[in-house]
């Protein structure tokens, strides 16, 4: 039987929501406080969900040590305590949490081969969260 396995991580990063396609006034109107030129930060909580059959020899969808190792080296070390706007992954992309989901989903989907990535979910604050399943519908 298929199982979804989810692991939570967190990292702290700063960002500024600003689109080069908009005027300064339109940026202020669209993004409000998030357009502050000096940026601001969040503690992002990241949930990575893998899905697949359970290996009968190990009882696992995926060895957590492998997932933890990948997420630490490819996501947390990359974004933790950094300014998202200055990262190459966000060149020309506004670092909203929507886009952060898409970027992280892409990194994990391309690089982590031990199990199938179902989705990523990011809590920007306790009040809002975003989920992305590589463009597919989220729930079975």
């Amino acid at each position: 039987m298929k199982v979804h396995l989810s692991r939570r991580y967190w990292f702290a990063a700063s960002h500024r929501l600003h689109s080069d396609a908009l005027s300064d006034e339109a940026n202020r109107e669209t993004y409000g406080k998030c357009n502050n030129p000096y940026g601001h930060g969040h503690n992002y909580f990241l949930e990575v969900t893998l899905s697949g059959p359970v290996d009968s020899a190990t009882g696992m969808v995926c060895n957590l040590a492998d997932l933890d190792g990948f997420v630490h080296s490819h996501i947390l070390e990359r974004f933790d305590h950094d300014h998202l706007n200055l990262r190459p992954e966000f060149a020309g992309i506004v670092p909203t949490t929507e886009n952060l989901c898409v970027v992280i989903d892409g990194i994990v989907r391309r690089g982590f081969t031990q199990a199938h990535l179902h989705s990523v979910r990011i809590e920007e604050t306790m009040m809002n969260s975003f989920e992305y399943a590589g463009g597919a519908e989220l729930h079975p």
Partner: protein, 139 residues
């Protein structure tokens, strides 16, 4: 269609060990979870059922009945137990390894046939706040 989730907690111990593996392989694959004396967790179980709202009661399901089924089929049998020795699916010659993934499947298989009051949608089991498994009964 409305989805309704009931939460419960239980505490249990377990050990990850595959008798077909060598001692070194068990340690390599399962790490600290292979400690032969076992270790425990406070598990949080979330059972989500779905169905239309009954026009008379306004319920999708009578929560009392759902709670009773969860207790009878899962909690009475697993709470304060050593899963590898005291729970049928995880002991004996055909034992599954009591990972979070297998717990989700076992709990689904126990609940699905017994839930007459509504259709089981999802079993979610948290081993810790940072690790959980979901079973939707997908083959």
């Amino acid at each position: 269609m409305v989805y309704l989730t009931r939460k419960a907690e239980f505490s249990a111990s377990h050990v990850y060990h595959n008798p077909a593996f060598s001692a070194e392989e068990n340690l390599r694959v399962f790490g600290k979870c292979n400690n032969p004396n076992g270790h425990g967790h406070n598990y949080t179980l979330e059972v989500t059922v779905k169905g239309p709202i009954d026009a008379t009661t306004g319920f999708v399901v009578d929560l009392k009945e759902l709670k009773e089924v969860m207790h009878r089929e899962v909690l009475d049998n697993m709470d304060h137990r050593f899963l590898n020795k005291e729970v049928a699916e995880f002991s004996g010659p055909q034992a599954l390894i009591p990972t979070t993934e297998n717990l989700a499947i076992v709990i689904w298989q126990r609940l699905a046939p017994k839930l007459k009051v509504a259709q089981l949608h999802r079993v979610r089991i948290y081993e810790t706040p940072d690790l959980f498994a979901d079973c939707y009964g997908e083959v």
